[in-house]
């Protein structure tokens, strides 16, 4: 009967998964791994840069920035008091760099919980220098001397906030988020990059990767987790999308 079949359609439509009514579906195909038609690649070393397939991938080094194990890029930036700060000023010390934006909600949560400030103060006596860097461009969220100076006062930040308005330092380090953390060992090589902890923008994690790495570096041990995926807002670089 016509009326009943129309209603039956509504009932089927009530399921969340797309119904099998679409012609080209293979009906009961489970949504599992697709076996690739395998080209055995066992004996082919990956050929970086060379590309017979016409692929136009950019050299990912440019996008990803400083690599763990390599020399950390130099910078020379002005802090909110107008003082020039260079990475070279801290030769022989362990340096923590923190990408910062006082108006990013994720950074705000971190500072309200005093995550960075407490850690920085705790490790000051262990020869660890902490430096925050804001790579936001003029006119964008959280940019400017006044805003960053105010945040330092409000959140009782003992370390400098460097203003990288051109984004050069941020891009040299490949920083995409606020916060992103980098640890530079006393010999100037990058020992850690990534998230502050194993949380996410909505929730604190229970493992502070920076603290863990600092303890290992200070003890002369290998950093067991040298790289994690950072989380947070995007760094507010200038330029077009």
């Amino acid at each position: 009967m016509k009326c009943k079949s129309l209603i039956a359609l509504f009932v089927v439509g009530g399921l969340c998964i797309a119904s099998a009514a679409v012609a080209q579906d293979t009906g009961n195909q489970p949504a599992k791994s697709t076996k690739p038609t395998a080209t055995p690649a066992a004996t082919q070393p990956s050929e970086k840069g060379k590309d017979g397939t016409g692929n136009k991938d950019k050299d990912h080094k440019k996008t990803d920035g400083a690599k763990v194990g390599e020399k950390a890029p130099d910078f020379s930036l002005t802090d909110t008091d107008g003082k020039t700060v260079k990475l070279a000023d801290f030769a022989g010390k362990i340096v923590v760099l923190e990408w910062f934006n006082p108006e990013c909600p994720v950074v705000v949560d971190c500072y309200k919980a005093e995550v960075m400030t407490k850690l920085a103060n705790q490790y000051k006596s262990k020869n660890v220098v902490w430096v925050a860097i804001n790579s936001g461009a003029a006119g964008l969220q959280g940019n400017g001397k006044e805003k960053n100076a105010k945040a330092r006062t409000e959140w009782k930040v003992s370390y400098p906030v460097l203003l990288d308005e051109s984004g050069t330092a941020g891009k040299a380090y490949g920083s995409k988020n606020t916060p992103t953390m980098y640890i530079i060992a006393a010999d100037g090589t990058l020992a850690y990059r990534g998230a502050i902890d194993n949380g996410n923008p909505g929730k604190r994690g229970d493992i502070n990767y920076v603290q863990k790495a600092l303890d290992e570096i200070i003890a002369g041990q290998t950093v067991t987790t040298p790289e994690t995926k950072a989380y947070g807002c995007n760094v507010k670089y200038g330029g077009k999308n």
Partner: protein, 285 residues
């Protein structure tokens, strides 16, 4: 027939009460949360589809739960009546969004409905009203990012198992979301996925365009800005291990296939891709 038309006309829009005036920060105004139902009532022992729906202001976006460089997808927290359960939310395919500094995210604009299966227990009693609540937190961004949060409650009657189900006026939003849910990749020869060293080759016959959107478990594309898409039937993507990994373990996400539509123009279909990493000889350290 006229009875059916009459009952459709009498359908009440079933949606959540708006949150009490104000709500959290600006982000709660830029993207507004609603909890919506597809059917006007629940049936004991059946699974229905609820929608976590966001209306998003122009110029602002919410984040997909895939491999974004930044942002935070909505986090959902349900409160359910005794015996009820929700399944994992289904996320419609997003769009790629590139911000200055080569920051690549996958986002939703204008509106999005996440589909959530609500499993109604057999023991649910016809005549009862089930109250389902959601609390959510999110990051909504334009060139600034704002935190948002919201709450919504839906009250749905439990009807008898043999009763006919009426859909609500929100049904079109469910259809729109479903059209962007990825389906299983067919095993037909029209769809070929293979590794060549660290490069994945995806071929879909008669496709006019292909676009790969990686999920949170996927290895990373080496060029996230321009890579991962092709204006042809063949897509070649170079991968590198996910952050913190030393080899490519899997490539997973959504493949958007653009084809010729019935009346000219383009039509898009979405498929799930999940492929183990290429076979490589493990090099001694």
């Amino acid at each position: 027939m006229s009875a059916l038309i009459a009952s459709i006309l009498l359908l009440m829009p079933v949606q959540s009460e708006p949150p009490p005036g104000g709500g959290g920060g600006g982000g709660s105004a830029r993207a507004r949360l609603q909890l919506i139902a597809e059917t006007a009532a629940l049936v004991p022992g059946e699974t229905v589809c609820l929608g976590v729906h966001f209306e998003i202001d122009p110029g602002w976006h919410l984040y997909w739960n895939g491999l974004n460089d930044s942002g935070m997808p909505p986090e959902l927290d349900f409160t359910l009546p005794h015996g009820f359960q929700v399944g994992e939310a289904l996320w419609p395919a997003p769009k790629r969004h590139v911000s200055p500094g080569d920051i690549v995210d996958y986002i939703y604009e204008k509106r999005v409905t996440l589909l959530v299966p609500l499993i109604v227990p057999e023991s649910a009693r016809p005549g009862d009203i089930a109250e389902v609540s959601i609390r959510a937190k999110w990051l909504v961004c334009s060139d600034v990012c704002l935190p948002g949060e919201g709450e919504a409650t839906l009250k749905l009657p439990i009807s008898r198992p043999d009763s006919t189900q009426k859909t609500t006026s929100q049904a079109p939003l469910f259809a729109e979301a479903r059209a962007r849910l990825p389906r299983a990749l067919p095993t037909s020869p029209d769809f070929k996925v293979s590794w060549q060293s660290d490069t994945l080759v995806i071929q879909v016959s008669s496709a006019l365009g292909l676009d790969f959107l990686p999920d949170a478990s996927s290895a990373m594309m080496t060029d996230r800005v321009a890579g991962g898409r092709a204006d042809s039937a063949r897509l070649v993507i170079k991968f590198q291990p996910a952050i913190g990994h030393d080899r490519i373990q899997q490539v997973s996400g959504i493949l958007e296939v653009s084809s010729r539509g019935e009346r000219g123009g383009r039509t898009a279909a979405f498929y799930s891709i999940k492929v183990s990493g290429p076979e490589t000889v493990t090099q001694p350290r």
